[in-house]
């Protein structure tokens, strides 16, 4: 009783003191549950994937032979990898630039307070809440050469020549898959840009207007620079999203016709799960991961530095 009373108020926190004097393994014990999950579900799959990519495993049998970097060398000779890489680049370009610019344009137009703006905002955002597989089904149905709405519309206005098998020919298939991607991905940048636009003080625009700035100058010199952070976030998220392209292509064209819409993701899947080339497919997956990580490093570094 007396010892408790005698202890000065500034005595170190007993829990902390005990931790400091406890053996080295105690802090690790606290980290163990999280660490175990991390090692089991993140580190181990990565390591085993790296190991698999150096073998000729077919994905099913017990035997696997170490083949060194042969799988990676084989990618250089694989023409489909060339097609897929080109398609990935095109896909990134279109599905980053178009949703970003459309989103920015819509945000600027719909930023004004009016009765119709909320309705329009809702409409443009709606596709973003749908599952990608549903979107793929909807658009494959719209693209149907015979009963699809797009060809029906073209025929109705007398443009029969333009009615075609959108997903069934090399020349249009990839573009036909990009349109739903733009459709679904415009809403989110619009939302982020809208939020950012609300944060720009009106005084800036009033001052610029008083100095005789035109509408374009105000947009160019006030709106665009004020949105710098938002551009950065939207761009980073778009790059990540575009790199992951798989579901829309898989569900709409399955990489076809021929190899014309293969992307790295679908080609990896085809090798691992269809052609029983798990070693080779995993090598593709490793390359995809390395490219994605390389592209993500600037973003992560900037985030770490800011915080």
């Amino acid at each position: 009783m007396t010892t408790t009373a005698a202890r000065p108020a500034t005595a170190p926190d007993p829990v902390r003191r005990r931790l400091r004097t406890s053996p080295m393994w105690v802090p690790w014990a606290f980290a163990l549950p999280g660490l175990a999950v991390y090692l089991l579900f993140l580190a181990w799959p990565v390591i085993s994937a790296l190991a698999t990519s150096l073998t000729d495993w077919d994905g099913l049998s017990d035997t696997r032979r170490f083949v060194g970097l042969a799988n990676y060398a084989a990618m250089l000779d694989d023409t489909v990898v060339g097609i897929a890489a080109t398609n990935n680049l095109l896909w990134c370009l279109v599905t980053i630039v178009l949703p970003m610019s459309l989103g920015l344009g819509l945000a600027v137009v719909l930023n004004r307070t009016s009765r119709t703006s909320p309705v329009f905002r809702t409409i443009f955002y709606t596709p973003a809440v749908l599952p990608l597989v549903s979107i793929a089904s909807i658009w494959a149905w719209l693209y149907n050469p015979d009963t699809g709405a797009i060809n029906t519309l073209l025929r109705a206005v007398g443009l029969d020549v333009l009615a075609q098998s959108w997903l069934g020919q090399d020349s249009t298939a990839l573009w036909a898959v990009m349109i739903p991607a733009v459709w679904v991905r415009t809403g989110f940048p619009m939302l982020l840009y809208l939020a950012a636009l609300q944060g720009i003080p009106d005084e800036l625009y009033e001052a610029a207007q008083m100095d005789g700035a035109t509408r374009w100058q105000r947009f160019r010199r006030i709106t665009v620079p004020s949105l710098k952070d938002t551009h950065y976030i939207v761009l980073a998220l778009s790059i990540i999203e575009s790199f992951k392209v798989f579901d829309l292509v898989y569900a709409m064209t399955y990489g076809g016709p021929g190899y014309s819409t293969q992307v790295m993701g679908t080609w990896m899947y085809a090798n691992v799960f269809q052609y029983f080339e798990a070693g080779y497919g995993t090598a593709i997956a490793v390359v995809i991961t390395l490219v994605a990580v390389a592209a993500g490093i600037p973003y992560v570094r900037s985030q770490v530095r800011n915080r």
Binding site: F124, P127, I138, A149
Partner: protein
């Protein structure tokens, strides 16, 4: 936010939004057309879901439903085996 300066002015003029230039009207029309294109696939989706297949095949995807039905949903539930999945 919603309180525009002109909203405080009484009289019939304040009843409508303050800025209404030809350019703005043009922008609104453009956005409305874009919105119609944007929501079009979903409207077609819903319209087709509530009409019989025969009606869809006979009149085409862009027509208004000739008759309405909810049978498609029940069928989808069974064909898709949602109940047992």
């Amino acid at each position: 936010m919603t309180a525009t300066p002109s909203a405080a002015v009484p009289g019939p003029l304040s009843a409508r939004p303050p800025r209404r230039s030809p350019g703005r009207l043009l922008v609104t029309i453009a956005v409305a057309v874009a919105a119609l294109v944007w929501v079009g696939p979903l409207i077609l989706l819903v319209l087709t879901a509530i009409r019989p297949l025969a009606d869809f095949l006979a009149a085409g995807p862009l027509s208004l439903p000739g008759s309405l039905t909810l049978a498609n949903f029940g069928e989808a539930w069974q064909v898709g085996q949602f109940g047992t999945a």
